[in-house]
């Protein structure tokens, strides 16, 4: 473990902003909340944040992304890929978001081999930071996602005037080469350990059972309509809980062109399984027509379907969906606890 003075870390970031060809983005306070956005100077960082609105997923899997461009020519169409490979330097990612990115990596890179995602991901650099504040909606402690020892290139822990820095990759260690860092003292190592050990306990919310039990709990409760209906009745089908979630990745592909151009392209954009038309097919059939079907699908997917397929519980407990659901019916912890109690009462 290394240690860097905060002012030196700022210099490091400012240096990257100045000289790295990649865009440097980081967590900033926009007055009413925290967001990841392009960084103009290190001083704008707010690394003591609780949670950002959207997760850094948006940098590898953008909200809107050109996939293919076509151009009409004499003898037909020319079709070219049109997605960007550009990576970002992302400063200030919390452990639960790093875990979410690792999950997406397993899906987009290791399994489904999505090249647009992989290129952006591999060209990026993740500088994580251990939580100093805990969001009141988060239940990461109980999901085992409050701390992590992987998924980052560098991981910072705030030690007042210094950061303890854990190096997670060669890219990470190279980044530090030019900076005045030193080895951490034993006390500093202990201090980081104490902080990370205590972190999971800081959450007021949590699921009341071990997360490993979630897949079978959901299997058993697929038909527990009393609970599903209770939440679906208030659901606005607005898709907020989908797009706000760091592990959701459903998308739609649209053709976009302009009337006077002979070129056009396809764009993939974030979609949400809570939206009414998500499972509708040509001819009018809708395979999840009722709000309750869609609402249940989301929670099944988070706690069961993705687990069955890729081995991950796809809710990392960030609490974003709880915080941003206008109708206040999206909280996975609350719903999972209710299912747990109704089964184990």
């Amino acid at each position: 473990m290394k240690v860097i003075r905060k002012s030196d870390f700022d210099d490091l970031v400012n240096g990257l902003i100045e000289s790295d060809p990649r865009e440097v983005v980081g967590v900033q306070d926009d007055g009413t909340k925290y967001v990841f956005k392009p960084l103009e100077r290190a001083a704008d960082l707010s690394l003591d944040y609780d949670v950002t609105m959207l997760s850094p997923k948006k940098y590898f899997f953008p909200q809107k992304e050109r996939l293919v461009q076509y151009r009409e020519s004499e003898d037909g169409y020319e079709m070219l890929r049109d997605w960007s490979s550009e990576g970002k330097i992302i400063v200030g990612v919390h452990p639960y978001d790093l875990i979410a990115i690792e999950q997406l990596d397993r899906i987009f890179i290791d399994t489904q081999q999505d090249e647009p995602y992989r290129r952006k991901r591999e060209n990026s650099l993740l500088i994580g930071v251990n939580m100093q504040a805990v969001s009141e909606w988060s239940f990461a402690g109980s999901m085992g996602t409050a701390v992590t020892d992987s998924g980052f290139d560098l991981m910072l822990t705030d030690l007042e005037d210094r950061y303890a820095v854990e190096i997670g990759s060669r890219k990470g260690s190279k980044l530090l080469e030019e900076s005045p860092v030193r080895e951490a003292t034993l006390e500093e190592v202990d201090e980081v350990e104490r902080i990370t050990d205590e972190l999971p306990e800081k959450f007021e919310k949590g699921i009341e059972f071990p997360p490993e039990k979630l897949p079978s709990l959901l299997d058993e409760n697929y038909d527990n309509m009393a609970v599903w209906d209770e939440y679906a009745d208030g659901c606005l089908s607005c898709g907020t809980c989908n797009v706000i979630c760091p592990t959701c990745y459903c998308f739609n592909v649209d053709v976009v062109d302009f009337i006077t151009d002979d070129t056009g392209g396809t764009v993939r954009r974030w979609d949400g399984c809570l939206l009414e038309d998500f499972a509708a097919v040509a001819g009018g059939e809708n395979f999840r027509e009722e709000t309750v079907q869609r609402h249940r699908h989301r929670l099944m997917r988070k706690g069961n379907y993705i687990y069955e397929r890729f081995g991950d519980i796809a809710c990392i407990g960030c609490g974003r969906c709880t915080q941003h659901c206008v109708a206040d019916v999206a909280d996975p912890a609350e719903i999972y606890n209710k299912l747990w109690r109704s089964t184990n009462a």
Binding site: V68, Y70, G76, Q113, D271
Partner: protein, 285 residues
């Protein structure tokens, strides 16, 4: 900055379609046409029966279609397409020599190895014959690998019959039984074969249930009734396969639109073993 088109690794999904040229089209009726496509950069599509391709029409969109020709057929591959919306209409409007984009083949289908030495029963409703035709022709090509082969095909009316000439050839063969029915016969149309819904054909079939494999494709409502008949015949559920249809935006197991509970039609299907999907509540309704 768009990435360089040259450095793609072949196994990675990069969403850029391959160019394919329409080399022939045969129209069956106002809404159904079979199209033959040739790929620009390779000779063969390299599919197995039951797989599908994503067809991209620039300026219109992308849609999945099962490959209707058997891999045993040389040269261009065939898609039989019903005109129902924007993409399908745009394809119908294409002329020989026009090009479009193809991605694929995609999808998991049944393992024909396990069928060897058994009876085969195909049940096709309407446009459902299009995907089954690939498998039927494959099996007819390797006819001696199998025992009895039966095809049951139901259509709304005689004008909607797909591949009429091919059906005639099938009917002339004595190593395959081919039964056909129509729901109704409009006035002025000549028809001297069976009339009635498809399930009326099934009870009459002699079936050696433990040694029969069945593949069904048709509209969702049909499955339910066909399944009742297959149950009556006591065909084991793991001997029954269904080809399902959902909305798809990627074809590679990502976009989420084709999800049936935990399954993805584009990856775990489109051809599913009935044993696998019968407990998935979202599969058949």
């Amino acid at each position: 900055m768009p990435s360089e088109p040259t450095d793609a690794e072949p196994n990675w999904v990069h969403y850029e379609p391959e160019e394919a040229t329409l080399v022939a089209k045969t129209t069956f009726n106002e809404i159904d046409t079979v199209f033959e496509f040739e790929l620009e950069d390779r000779d063969e599509l390299g599919h197995v029966p039951g797989q599908f391709v994503q067809v991209f029409v620039p300026g219109v969109g992308e849609a999945p279609f099962s490959v209707s020709s058997s891999p045993t057929k040389d040269g261009p591959f065939e898609l039989c397409i019903r005109k129902v919306g924007s993409v399908t209409t745009a394809i119908h409007e294409m002329e020989v020599g026009d090009t479009l984009g193809i991605r694929g083949p995609f999808g998991e289908t049944c393992d024909i190895e396990t069928f060897k030495g058994n009876d085969m029963l195909f049940v096709a409703g309407g446009i459902g014959l299009a995907p089954l035709r690939s498998m039927i022709n494959f099996i007819l090509y390797h006819r001696d690998w199998f025992r009895d082969v039966t095809v049951v095909y139901g259509c709304k009316d005689p004008t909607e019959i797909l591949f009429p000439e091919e059906i005639e050839r099938w009917q002339e063969r004595d190593d395959i039984r081919f039964d056909i029915t129509v729901d109704e016969v409009p006035e002025g149309v000549e028809w001297d074969d069976h009339v009635g819904v498809i399930t009326t054909l099934l009870p009459g079939l002699k079936i050696d249930a433990p040694n029969t494999y069945t593949i069904v494709c048709g509209p969702p409502v049909m499955f339910q009734y066909v399944q009742e008949e297959l149950d009556a015949k006591e065909i084991p559920h793991d001997h029954i396969y269904l080809s399902l249809e959902r909305r798809m935006h990627c074809g590679v197991g990502l976009c989420g639109h084709c999800q049936i509970n935990d399954l993805y039609v584009c990856q775990d299907g489109p051809v599913f073993n009935y044993e696998v999907i019968k407990d998935r509540p979202e599969a058949l309704s």
